[in-house]
């Protein structure tokens, strides 16, 4: 264990077990007084679980939490708050029609005999924002009239207004911010540090971690795999190595498909909000990956290509002809389909049978005079279920009863039935087990082998490298790289995605 002197927070041997999953396995996190401690790791590494244990949201199954030398026996959110720990969540959680002062003082308003002291609260909020966070924000402004960065500062002010904060935990604070807004936030964080407040900084952006943190703990598979002291840009490669561990290559099918003529071209597409100036080309029989953190514009771009969102600039061409997709229905007509990230919500009618789900989008093919030809519909569903190996093979099974991987296949079968030619898969393997993952990868490979163009939008860099021909990397609304997977290493991809700098020779 690390030496105890100078540590304001020590979490040691923390274990947290969910039914069937060990989320934290003997994990440790130690934060020095007055320092900014980074916390990094891939999705599912246990970062958010340990933060929730610290917040008192999750109970722990084993382990010890020591705050300022005192062991915390019972930990509820109230205890944690009383111990001076504050959390700046990723979501802003502010009331749009409240004033800045009302938001900063929420739950601890100043009240006198004649009711709320609005003016005193506004003045106190302004002074606090100015002195502690170096922000010029009027206390009487409505939250909805503020930019995202200013809202973030209001959120921070709310956590600190009682002047009792000793440790502040930031969870992905920069995700919704533009680059110049990030500088403002970092300045505020520097001021907090100067006041002696200790911080835990959770982020996917390794570039940020190396520039503001003093130490970093790296998490992988539910435990801490290393602590880097005196972190700097030279440590990016080391950090990525620790995050990723060994690679698993047998998961992915051999790339047997051959890209042919261009199907979709995107020119200077943008919505002036989440992404801008996007150029992209996808060929038939090609699998193109889109990488990017949350907030990079990746999800919004994919939604726009599918017609769920409308672009504000640029155009899209299919087979060289300009198209305007006003809705997903228009996209489906053009042969574009999206398998959404949340299948349970957007992709499947859970109460209907597999056969009904498969035929849902192409009922006219198995109908005559508006009447569904039941035997023909069942036969076609059965053939597709066999082709995709949907289990159980009985197409009269209700979709709700299928496993995640098999539900995914049902969604794909529906779009195969419509004869689609561009498949957009958004996080195709989130929440499915490893066996189903392998099957879904084979299926995607097969789609491309049959001549379809495939876009895979994913937050899993392993998956993108293993599956795709090319990967476009998005960062803060722009494409920052378009790389060939044959010549790109996992570390290089993560460095591109996270905005970190990979120094040559630093990678082992």
């Amino acid at each position: 264990m690390t030496e105890p002197t100078g540590h304001i927070l020590q979490m040691s041997g923390i274990t947290k077990i969910f039914p069937g999953v060990v989320a934290l396995d003997n994990a440790n996190l130690a934060v020095r007084e007055g320092h900014i401690h980074g916390l990094v790791g891939e999705n599912g590494a246990g970062k958010s679980t340990i933060i929730k244990v610290l917040a008192g949201v999750y109970g722990r199954d084993a382990g010890e939490v020591v705050i300022d030398g005192a062991a915390m026996a019972a930990m509820t959110p109230a205890h944690v708050h009383a111990a001076g720990i504050r959390f700046i969540h990723q979501e802003l959680h502010l009331v749009p029609h409240f004033t800045v002062a009302e938001s900063v003082f929420m739950g601890q308003e100043l009240q006198g005999w004649f009711g709320i002291k609005s003016r005193a609260m506004a003045e106190a909020a302004e002074t606090f924002l100015k002195e502690t966070l170096n922000a010029e924000i009027r206390g009487t402004t409505l939250i909805r009239d503020l930019g995202v960065a200013q809202r973030k500062l209001v959120q921070i002010a709310r956590a600190l207004i009682d002047n009792k904060a000793r440790i502040v935990v930031f969870d992905e604070p920069t995700a919704p911010l533009a680059s110049r807004e990030i500088d403002q936030l970092f300045e505020a964080i520097a001021r907090l540090k100067a006041r002696g407040i200790s911080m835990v900084y959770v982020s996917h952006y390794l570039g940020e971690i190396t520039s503001i943190c003093d130490q970093v703990t790296v998490f992988r598979n539910g435990r801490d795999v290393g602590v880097i002291e005196a972190i700097g840009p030279q440590d990016t490669g080391r950090m990525i190595n620790m995050m990723v561990g060994r690679d698993i290559s047998d998961l992915y099918p051999a790339k047997a498909h051959a890209p042919a003529a261009a199907l979709l071209r995107v020119e200077a597409l943008g919505d002036h909000k989440h992404f801008d100036n996007i150029d992209l080309e996808i060929r038939r029989g090609e699998i193109v990956g889109v990488a990017g953190l949350i907030g990079s514009g990746r999800e919004e771009l994919v939604d726009t290509i599918y017609g769920l969102r409308q672009p504000a600039a640029g155009r899209m061409l299919i087979d060289g002809k300009p198209v305007r997709l006003a809705s997903p229905a228009a996209a489906v007509k053009q042969g574009i389909v999206l398998v959404p990230r949340d299948r349970r919500q957007d992709g499947l009618v859970l109460g209907m049978t597999v056969a009904d789900n498969v035929n849902l989008a192409s009922l006219e093919d198995v109908s005559r005079a508006y009447l569904i030809n039941r035997p023909a519909a069942a036969k076609r569903a059965d053939a597709l279920a066999a082709k995709l190996d949907i289990r159980p093979r009985n197409v009269d099974t209700v979709a709700r009863l299928l496993s995640g991987g098999n539900q995914q296949k049902v969604v794909l079968a529906r779009w195969l039935a419509t004869g689609s030619r561009l498949f957009i898969l958004d996080e195709p393997t989130v929440g499915v087990d490893i066996g189903a993952k392998v099957e879904i990868y084979r299926l995607i490979e097969r789609l491309a082998g049959d001549g379809a163009a495939v876009i895979v939008s994913s937050s899993d860099p392993n998956e993108l490298i293993g599956l795709c021909d090319r990967i476009v990397v998005m960062l803060r609304g722009s494409i920052v790289a378009n790389v060939d997977t044959a010549t790109t290493s996992l570390d290089a991809l993560i460095a591109l995605t996270t905005g970190g700098e990979l120094h040559e020779g630093a990678v082992a």
Binding site: L94, V95, E102, M106, G107, G115, I116, P311
Partner: protein
Amino acid sequence: MTSLAQSPLAGVGRLVRAVAPSTPLIVFLAMFAYLGMASSNFLEPSTMALVLKQSVPTVVVCLGLATVVMAGGDDVVVGGIDLSVPATAVLAAAIIADLVSNHAMFIGYALLIGVAAGVVCGLVNAFLVVFFGMTPLLATFASSTAFIGISKVVTASRRINVGDPLIVWLRDGSIFGVPAGVICACLIAAVFYFVLHRTRWGLNLQAVGGSRDAAEMSGLSAARFIAQSFVIAGLVGGVASAFVLARGSGWTPGTEENLMMEMVLATFLGAAFSPRRIVTLWGAVLGAVLVSALSVGFGSVGIDIFWTGCIKGSLILIVVASAALSRKVNA
């Protein structure tokens, strides 16, 4: 190159965004202008005094609905709404009328029992919404039907006259020339304004309505505030019963229908008056006065009472549609 930017749709969107929240106001002002021209005495002080007197029960029940909306959020489907305030008032009025006229009880005791019955109604709603997790719209619609049913059991669905001096004073009395009912309503509204807009408790209740997550994160219990808002709405219904009795000189079956319609219309119309475009107490009160002014105005120009229902129905549609539209374009 060709660009989709600045398509005509974007301009329309901006226009809708700017105009949508104010549409109900524009429509109302247009109707007032019409009534002022069509009826010679609509804008006279005596008519306005009548409007204020007529508006009293609506103003009071609106305070209850506004409280629930402020605590639950202004999404009509999943947010806070209490359709049962008028039914609560009518039930409490039935109990008071029965006790005073048929059992010769002292009016003070009867009023206390009526208000207590209102609080019980509010507790029932709070229980349905917070404990069972029912949608407020459905829960209060169902409880409203039940409360009306009980009121008909109490009265055998027959009109009961109430000639008690206090009730008559509420209807006809005045202090320095101002109708007594109006003064009472103003006092009640002032108390509500202070409690909801000027105290910590009120601000916290509004925080719960504005963003449940934000409130919970600030250590406020959303369930507690939502339950309290329903109990207050029940209390308001109990208090409103006195004004319902005064306006009708007793209990009449079917009073709740018009009251509910006016309440919903007035409360959501009120959001158009608020600079923050949210449901507020003052907005609801002003909305209630405007709505009863319309009713009086339609009467004075001799519009058929059945047509009045159609017009008010369309107004509700306009108010709710403009709220939905402004939410949509702002999303």
